[in-house]
Symmetry: C2
Subunit: 344 residues, 2 copies
């Protein structure tokens, strides 16, 4: 028995589809022996997993931009890990990689699935969890959503909701670097203070403390040219009342609506798009995969030069996955939410 | 006393702001003597007025793309008329013009207001009311909304609501001429038959007769690439479930919502924009004023060559303005709604 096949892989599987917020009953905890990779395959030890609001959507049945997670399958998740066995010339034992590893301790990736897993080598000197944050999917989402869909011009006012989250912090910091006025929307004084003092946003509206419309009026005196929306609901409606002529609204997500047991609340003020000749457009980050390397290089440069910060909210322990995921929906996470599965 | 100053001008004024559908109480009927134009001014006899869903918005208080009609003011309307007195070298007595004439029999346009009134000479041989329809604001709205915002490509599927209305008929006919598959949505068999048999749409869904979603599934087997929305509400939501990757939704109006006494129903399915990387964008025709002549020339060519039809629903009598306007909101009008104020 090799060292590898003596290992046990703990996994978290989707046991049933949640109605509203997922509960512990929606998950099952399984163990499997770890297998050696076949020809061309790679075995990765999971170090940290990315926890994202989009996961809630993957748990639902029905068509979306990717297929749902099947009942009984290991929950889908991206993560960073270390190659511990490899029959593939592109990956050596000891390499750090970013890939679709799923919520488990070990991920065996057959040769045929390497491309689909999005696996690529990462530089651990940038900080492993940065690769799940500004250098990972949230960073890419923020970068391409803002730059390609939003098309910011220096001097414009950019508003971003979920400002202390993974995507929000990236969007705001890039917008500042591009010469925009940046106003965040976040829940609670601690997050708002951090976004302004640490990340350099011009202002941040605490939606838990007061009226978002009044905050927008105060902090966006020339109106909102670009709104990067991660939350939907009432905040989207509030921003729609303050957009400028030709404004761009990037629809990245709708955290406020993902756990609804009632129908989604559509933006009642959408006719503001007509009055203001504005547009609302959706973004899915995978469409930009060919250009990730360029964006990663730009962002890594900012990180090295101290022009950008990458804050992670790290929770330890695979077994804590169910409760940790909920932090995304009750506004508890502060920075990119990461589940640390093993220490390097 | 000249022939002109012996004339009486009957007018319809906004007496109060309606709640829900406008009633006769929201209007007042006044008479005024007609005055000679001053230096550089023009006096126009109203022949026909354009009745448009947008009028309902102008009756509300509050910011929109143009200021509201003030209480006590003659109701705003565009129309076609004949110059009966002129001190302006650009307009001679006997010229036919298109201008903001308002709901009255005679419109005195001082030199300072000529530009703002949008007055231009028209060729009566094209049919006077065509200038309120495919050669007028509805036609321009359809043309620039479809071409500039929608950017149709041959072979794409275009859906248009309010298909038998002034904007809808233009959009559908242009889309056919550009090589698209065109599916209308209209109320009642007569309108749907007309749109298909007379205008050459590929299909038309009768929203009064059945399920719009099922109709879209049947008639748009490849999904909806472009949706030109004149109605909002449940129909917008139904179309959102059938859009293709990269679809464009042109928000031109929301007839279903204009007389709401409850808040506007936002599109609950707006997250389809995210899943499909689609966009929803507003259009206001005035932004394209510089390019009207080019579009008018193209459309006039289609009319002359018999490639396009222009159907008007003409009601006679200034005094019938209040009831006639309501035809736009109960789905009664069939083609461009025109109020004939005087015969030529």
């Amino acid at each position: 028995m090799s060292a590898i096949t003596s290992l046990t892989n703990h996994q978290v599987r989707l046991a049933s589809r949640p109605v509203g917020l997922p509960t512990r009953d929606n998950w099952s905890f399984t163990t499997e022996p770890v297998a050696e990779p076949g020809p061309g395959g790679v075995l990765v030890k999971t170090l940290s997993l990315s926890l994202d609001p989009a996961m809630r959507g993957w748990m639902n049945e029905g068509k979306s931009y990717i297929p749902p997670v099947e009942i009984g399958a290991v929950m889908r998740a991206g993560g960073v890990g270390k190659v511990i066995a490899s029959n593939n010339a592109a990956f050596a034992v000891g390499d750090y990689v970013n890939a679709g590893l799923d919520v488990q301790e070990y991920c065996l990736i057959p040769e045929a699935n390497i491309k689909r897993s999005g696996m690529f080598k990462i530089d651990p000197r940038m900080g492993l969890t940065s690769w799940l944050n500004v250098l990972g999917m949230p960073g890419m989402t923020g970068y391409f959503g803002l730059m390609d869909v939003g098309q910011p011009k220096a001097g414009e006012t950019v508003v971003v909701s979920g400002a202390a989250g993974a995507v929000g912090q990236t969007v705001g910091q890039i917008a500042k670097l591009k010469g925009c006025r940046v106003v965040g929307i976040a829940g609670g004084k601690a997050k708002c203070d951090w976004v302004v003092k640490e990340l350099g946003f011009d202002a941040c509206i605490d939606y838990k403390a007061g009226d978002v419309k009044a905050g927008l009026k105060e902090h966006c005196p020339k109106g909102v040219d670009i709104y990067f929306d991660n939350v939907g609901g009432d905040i989207l409606d509030a921003v729609l009342t303050r957009i400028t002529r030709g404004a761009r609204i990037i629809i990245c997500g709708a955290i406020s609506q993902y756990n609804n047991t009632t129908p989604v609340k559509g933006p009642a003020n959408y006719l503001s798009l007509l009055v203001n000749r504005a547009r609302m457009e959706g973004i899915v980050v995978f469409d930009y995969a060919d250009r990730y390397p360029v964006a990663i290089a730009e962002m890594a440069g900012y990180l090295k030069d101290g022009k950008m910060k990458s804050k992670e909210d790290v929770v330890e322990g695979l077994e804590n996955f169910p409760e940790t995921l909920l932090k995304l929906f009750n506004g508890e996470n502060f920075g990119k939410l990461v589940l640390q599965v093993a220490k390097d």
